[in-house]
Symmetry: C2
Subunit: 410 residues, 2 copies
């Protein structure tokens, strides 16, 4: 008998029919003799619909009240799923975030989990019930309802798995696993049997979108084995675990990409120690995420600074910079839109210094200009023209033999 935490996202519970299907997946595990805790998101488009209503009332709705509003979404799902489990003859009980003991910071919209009092869940598991928990939500020490922000349901599932010392945490989603790259664009994309926490973290941060980075980090810290798998298909998914336990150790395990990137270049910044931090503090205060950052010196004792942003943030970035021009003391700003980011990820890179070079060579041979570069121990990111994005991914996928099984062992 194992203790399994299952998480089903919004697409998997998007209709009453789909909820019944999820109930069957849950019952399978229960009938195999396992204890099961299920974490669910709001149904399909529910969250969007609630957000629209709020925006009809206020362009800047109170964050506390947004949490009050949005947490109803998962509450609907847990009750319907529990009804479906009971209807199928299984004992089951639902819990909201506060009932499940998800204690968070006193922050609305993006709270971190402080502690989990899993006693109520444990008591119900002991009573042989399937426990259904609302993802994404918790409450603070004053009984205020909070939410965990984007990808919160993944985090809920992993955190509960850690608190219960679960044997496994299965993340059910609308894809069958983690792929070497996005199969909607690259037909040679192959589902990975396993991937390390760190690789998944880089892929998640790079927009692969299957699993939220916070959840992966939490799983890594608590050594919870994750499996990403399909809520519709029965095939095995991708396990996410420590490097050491993995079967194949590829140099490059996956390729992530993202379009709608804009490069912003700030020319003629004074070469003072504080000018960089001033710029990025100012942008952060205005909640603008900056990705790749490149700094270059000029002959005239000034600095040119380039960074990449999501194109949708361009106007906001320009406003912030212009509004702070006196303090930032730059010369002028240039922007270049229509760009994309292409990144290769793999733990094997650490011990293979030539990987970045190989990547640039592939790009050059394919006739693709690399406009920005950023590297970490297990990834290399490049910025290219949006129109060449898919071509770049195809060439890299081919060059690093990602379509084939485990040929490139370290």
């Amino acid at each position: 008998m194992a203790l399994i935490v299952q998480k089903f996202g919004g697409t998997s519970v998007g209709s009453v029919e789909k909820i019944k299907n999820v109930a069957n997946r849950v019952i399978e595990e229960a009938e195999n003799g396992n204890e099961v805790v299920v974490v669910v998101s709001a149904m399909g488009k529910t969250t969007d619909e609630l957000v629209y209503m709020a925006q009809d009332i206020s362009r800047t709705p109170s964050k506390r009240e947004m949490d009050m509003l949005l947490t109803t979404g998962e509450q609907v799902t847990i009750s319907l799923l529990t009804m479906a489990l009971i209807e199928a003859g299984h004992e089951a009980i639902s819990f909201t975030g506060w009932q499940a003991g998800m204690q968070t910071e006193s922050v609305h919209g993006n709270a971190r989990i402080l502690d989990i009092d899993a006693s109520r869940i444990q008591a119900q598991l002991k009573a042989k019930k399937i426990v259904v928990v609302a993802g994404f939500q918790g409450s603070d020490a004053n009984g205020e309802i909070t939410t965990l922000g984007r990808g919160g349901s993944d985090t809920t599932a992993v955190a509960i798995a850690a608190a219960l010392n679960a044997d496994r945490c299965d993340i059910y989603t609308d894809v069958t696993g983690v792929f070497t790259t996005d199969p909607r664009y690259i037909k040679e994309a192959r589902k990975l049997q396993s991937i390390s926490y760190d690789e998944m973290l880089e892929l998640a941060n790079l927009g692969a979108g299957v699993l939220h980075p916070r959840a992966v980090e939490y799983a890594k810290n608590h050594q919870i084995p994750l499996e990403v798998r399909s809520s519709m298909e029965k095939e095995a998914g991708t396990t996410i675990e420590e490097e050491a336990t993995m079967e194949e150790n590829l140099i490059v395990r996956g390729i992530a990409f993202e379009d709608s990137i804009t490069r912003v270049t700030v020319n003629g910044l004074p070469r003072s120690l504080g000018s960089l931090s001033t710029i990025f503090m100012t942008l952060a205060k205005n909640r603008i995420n900056v990705d790749i950052i490149i700094q270059s010196m000029t002959a005239e004792d000034t600095t040119n600074l380039s960074f990449s942003i999501k194109s949708e943030d361009t106007e906001a970035v320009l406003n912030v910079l212009e509004n702070n021009k006196d303090q930032l003391a730059f010369d002028r700003i240039e922007t270049e839109g229509g760009l994309a980011k292409v990144s290769i990820v793999g733990s094997g890179m650490v011990s293979n210094p030539g990987v970045a070079a190989e990547m640039f060579e592939v790009m050059a041979n394919t006739g693709i200009q690399v406009k920005m570069v950023s590297t970490s121990e297990i990834k290399v990111s490049t910025v290219v023209n949006e129109k060449e994005m898919v071509k770049a991914v195809e060439a890299l996928h081919e060059a690093f033999k990602l379509g084939q099984h485990a040929k490139v062992l370290v």
Copy 2:
């Protein structure tokens, strides 16, 4: 400065536009220098939609999970209304039932309020905030979410008014007050300036539908003055208070009526002491509400029993009686459908023994056959043919001069 509890029902908060309108009504009271607590129901058809989803999953959904599901309805309304209040420049905060301290029995679907810990509401009033509370819901001692059943939001409002020792509890609805009879049927129907708790209780129980009987009873027990008024029109509504404080004391204050009534007659019951209680205990166990009951002796040492039910319960009643025929030992059952109940209500009746006789005379003069009669201290109910219902109400409304103001003083 007064402390006012306002309650807005589902129709009043049926859309984002209507919620903004409600916000304006709330703000008016606040800007008059009053402390305001607002109790709201779920938006319009929300509850129905949630019920449909549940019924798609199970014909007999778990009551606990139904409470989990339905309570999301009010939670959506409180957050949206609070956003609207904040958007209009007022400080406001929303509370779910459990946050507002509504402590109930451990019963799902129809829990009674045990106690109210109003400290969280009081603290926010002290901080000069408008407090918005979810009606209809509470929680038990184990932190389980419960609901108060039909008319629960009215009860929430009155209970909070009592706990806070409020100066007034205003029930906003889609009519402008309590009428002498239903204005959709009788064009002479007149809005009452005031009505006593007891009269309102009789009217509410008779299907007048404006205010839930439980709420009226709670208000009477705690002497909370109620006012029923329109959420759209600005005119004064109807106050509900103790008899002694009322301006006009009419003999008959209102006429209630209800169609789709069926009379069931059980012939040839043994004249034993227990046979009546056995029948009604059996029906009650099967959750069938019986209204008027008439018993008549026959020559043959047996009893004939008639009672009225809602027509929709007819099949269930017949099944229950037939299934228990051995124990109940009756001869045969007759039913007559297509009936209606017409009742006159007024505190003045207690000291005017001729009122029932006058009612029967009016019916006779109008050519309407009275098939059943039941009386209490402040009401007389009759059962007539459904086709004659409106004619009966018109004649009674005219005869008791309900269309005119305060002519019939005691």
